[in-house]
């Protein structure tokens, strides 16, 4: 059946962190080219709609076209040409999806199910940016507009209805999440950094973002402590003053390069009374450890070292995987819904054609009786026009409803086929030529012959 040819089809081609090294992803992003990559792809022959997504972990191109094979071929040629690589390397890394699997992949990417860290939130924003660029350049219309909006709403549902993003999977973030489970609200809590390493700085930033109030930085070289405390908005002390300062601290992040422990159980025990037994949370991310593990045995003191935090993260990752399977089921349901809509797109040209043909028949029959009808006055002619129009509409009404409904079912091809045969339509791909013939005399005869 030639009908299928006219249906817009969706394809997705790309590479991600699993299939291609970063160097290759950079090349495929075509960032070196003077012309924006999106424009290059949009100008390819037969390419009707295109969205181009390029992040540090993936390069993907989403197209909608009737002649999909040609478009895919020219996309690959463009990549080979502009990205300067040989076709075997590209073919080895590239994944190509069409139709249902392309939609599924896009929904999974949007919902962060295909990310390196499952559930990370950035990808949705990146996809939204890519879509905004496409709509500004007017390279996305009916099909991709709807597909992308659907992808965003699927991603939102996944985020709110599963707990895929609710488990921290980075050391510093996991530490802050733990602090929240001990202190509830971090507002009014005092942080302390012992050692001014990069990881400690990151964790401190998370603490401040979480609402922690004051921050004290202790370091062997005071100048570095001063520097860091200034950038984080806190105060600096020397390592010798740590013991005293602990009385006011609530969350302590330690990361010195000291060869042995710098805080013993006795030291911590001694400060518990002056601090009126307020809870104290130590995060020891130094290797070798800075704080005596026995500190954890003191009442109201909690000590997590780097391995403990890694354990937390492993556990959280497993939780995310569990949630991911729930999310996958949601994605699958949405893919099926979207496919139904795609199928229904088939129906539109058939219906349009049916209406055009009926109108042509009506006009031809009126013009045939031209001589008789001429004697009628204007009002009567108008009434006749309305009358014939509504007869045509009433007759077509039920078949059109049937076709519309059928377009969303599995056997839509067969229903459309039957409809075309019944009404003598050859298929929407030659709508124009059919229209011409529809106005000529032999058209109806031919149709009758054909369907009988």
């Amino acid at each position: 059946m030639p009908l299928g040819l006219n249906r817009p089809q969706i394809a997705l081609l790309g590479v991600n962190h699993n299939t291609a090294p970063v160097e290759m992803r950079e090349r495929l992003s075509l960032s070196g080219s003077n012309v924006p990559a999106l424009r290059l792809f949009a100008e390819l022959p037969y390419c009707e709609e295109v969205v181009f997504l390029s992040t540090c972990n993936r390069v993907e191109i989403l197209v909608s076209a009737n002649r999909l094979d040609e478009v895919k071929k020219s996309i690959k040629e463009l990549w080979l040409d502009k990205g300067k690589m040989d076709s075997n390397t590209l073919q080895g890394a590239l994944y190509e999806y069409e139709g249902m699997s392309a939609i599924r992949h896009l929904f999974r990417v949007a919902s962060s199910l295909d990310s390196m860290v499952v559930g990370e939130p950035q990808i949705l924003g990146q996809l939204k940016d890519a879509y905004r660029m496409a709509s500004e350049a007017k390279t996305a219309s009916t099909v991709l507009n709807r597909l992308l909006h659907k992808a965003f709403s699927v991603a939102k549902r996944v985020r709110t209805e599963t707990r895929i993003a609710s488990h921290a999977v980075s050391i510093s973030y996991a530490a802050v999440e733990l602090a929240k489970k001990i202190f509830g609200d971090l507002a009014g809590k005092n942080g302390m950094l012992i050692g001014a390493g990069e990881m400690a700085e990151l964790a401190a930033q998370h603490l401040i973002a979480g609402g922690a109030d004051k921050l004290v930085v202790a370091n062997r070289t005071l100048s570095r402590a001063v520097e860091l405390s200034r950038s984080l908005g806190g105060s600096a002390i020397s390592l010798e003053e740590v013991g005293e300062a602990l009385v006011d601290a609530d969350i302590v992040i330690s990361s010195t390069g000291a060869p042995g422990t710098i805080l013993s159980k006795d030291q911590v025990k001694r400060i518990m009374r002056p601090r009126r037994h307020r809870l104290l949370f130590f995060i020891d991310i130094a290797v070798p450890r800075d704080i005596d593990p026995k500190v954890n045995d003191i009442d109201n003191v909690y000590l997590y070292d780097i391995d403990d935090l890694k354990g937390v993260i492993e556990f959280n990752k497993a939780e995310r995987e569990k949630e991911a399977s729930k999310a996958n089921r949601m994605v699958e349901a949405e893919v099926i819904k979207f496919m139904a809509w795609m199928e229904s797109l088939n129906v539109v040209p058939v219906i349009q054609h049916l209406q055009k043909k009926a109108e042509a028949v009506r006009q031809k029959e009126i013009s045939r009786s031209h001589k008789v009808l001429e004697s009628l006055n204007d009002e009567q002619q108008k009434a006749l026009d309305v009358l014939t129009r509504s007869i045509v509409q009433k007759i077509l009404n039920d078949p059109i409803i049937y076709i519309k409904k059928g377009g969303q079912e599995n056997n839509s091809e067969m229903i459309l086929d039957t409809a075309c045969r019944l009404f003598g339509i050859d298929g929407p791909e030659d709508t124009e030529s059919q229209q011409d013939r529809g106005l000529s005399d032999d058209s109806t005869d031919r149709t009758v012959r054909k369907s009988s």
Partner: protein, 275 residues
């Protein structure tokens, strides 16, 4: 009629209990919302049941064990709803409401007959003393639930087992703060309860303190909570120790409430009145 309302209350509390348990297991928010709605309705019916019993008997329904337990559960639910409305504590319902449900079940197995009031109890001090004491008991029951939650959560964090329990319970400091709030409400109530009891004893028996078993055990309970209260205020006792003390205090309180009444004989004993 009041018996029928009581049974309705038990039934509604039962549905609410299931709702809170479903919520803590599945973390479904709608389960908690429905449970809270049922609980509020149940609380209204329960209030009506208590009032109708008061009018039916002509004296406050605080005399026998059925009434005391029912009133205790009523006060617990009331304080729970108040707390949840003022400062919501995650998963508290799954601990408090099953507990209240158990108390209601125990109450429903007791004799519900309204007996004529013994002449010694005919006094305005009966409702004052009994209501204050039962309010104190209810607040300490909540404190007990919160202490249990604290110990569970503390253990998870200390042992670094951050699984399902960890996710479902509130933060340590929130739990500890609630424990303190219960103590600062419950301790003055308990003190007031003992004082009003003493005044009533003077009016009824002519002596402020007669070392009746109930009085003795009340004093022991008071000392435990007083110690906890004092330590909290002066040296800042909190966390695990405070939670353990809260649980010990509540265990003694339960003995004062039930054990003394059922096992030892004295002026407060329900056992003697029921005979």
């Amino acid at each position: 009629m009041h018996k029928f309302l009581f049974q309705i209350t038990v039934f509604i509390y039962f549905i609410s209990t299931i709702g809170f348990l479903v919520h803590i297991i599945t973390l479904r928010k709608d389960a908690e919302r429905i449970a809270t709605i049922f609980l509020s309705v149940g609380f209204g019916v329960h209030t009506a049941a208590v009032l109708m019993r008061w009018f039916a008997g002509g004296h406050p329904p605080l005399v026998n064990l059925h009434d005391s337990l029912s009133f205790l559960a009523w006060a617990m639910v009331g304080f729970f709803l108040l707390f949840q409305w003022r400062c919501k504590l995650k998963s508290l319902g799954a601990f408090v409401i099953p507990f209240a449900m158990i108390i209601m079940t125990a109450s429903s197995f007791q004799s519900k007959e309204i007996l004529p009031l013994p002449p010694a109890l005919k006094s305005i001090w009966l409702p004052i003393h009994a209501i204050i004491c039962l309010f104190a008991d209810a607040v300490f029951a909540l404190a007990f639930c919160i202490a249990i939650m604290f110990l569970l959560q503390e253990r998870q964090i200390k042992k670094k087992r951050l699984g399902a329990v960890f996710q479902r319970l509130p933060s340590l400091e929130t739990l500890d703060a609630m424990n303190e709030r219960c103590l600062t409400l419950g301790f003055p109530l308990l003190t007031l309860g003992i004082m009003t009891g003493s005044i009533w004893a003077e009016k009824a028996w002519g002596s402020y303190w007669s070392w009746d078993p109930k009085e003795t055990w009340s004093l022991i309970t008071w000392f435990i909570y007083a110690a906890l209260f004092h330590q909290r205020l002066t040296v800042g006792w909190r966390g695990r120790k405070a939670a353990i003390m809260t649980i010990v205090g509540f265990a003694v309180l339960v003995f004062t409430f039930l054990g003394v009444s059922l096992l030892l004989s004295g002026a407060h004993s329900y056992a003697t009145w029921l005979k």
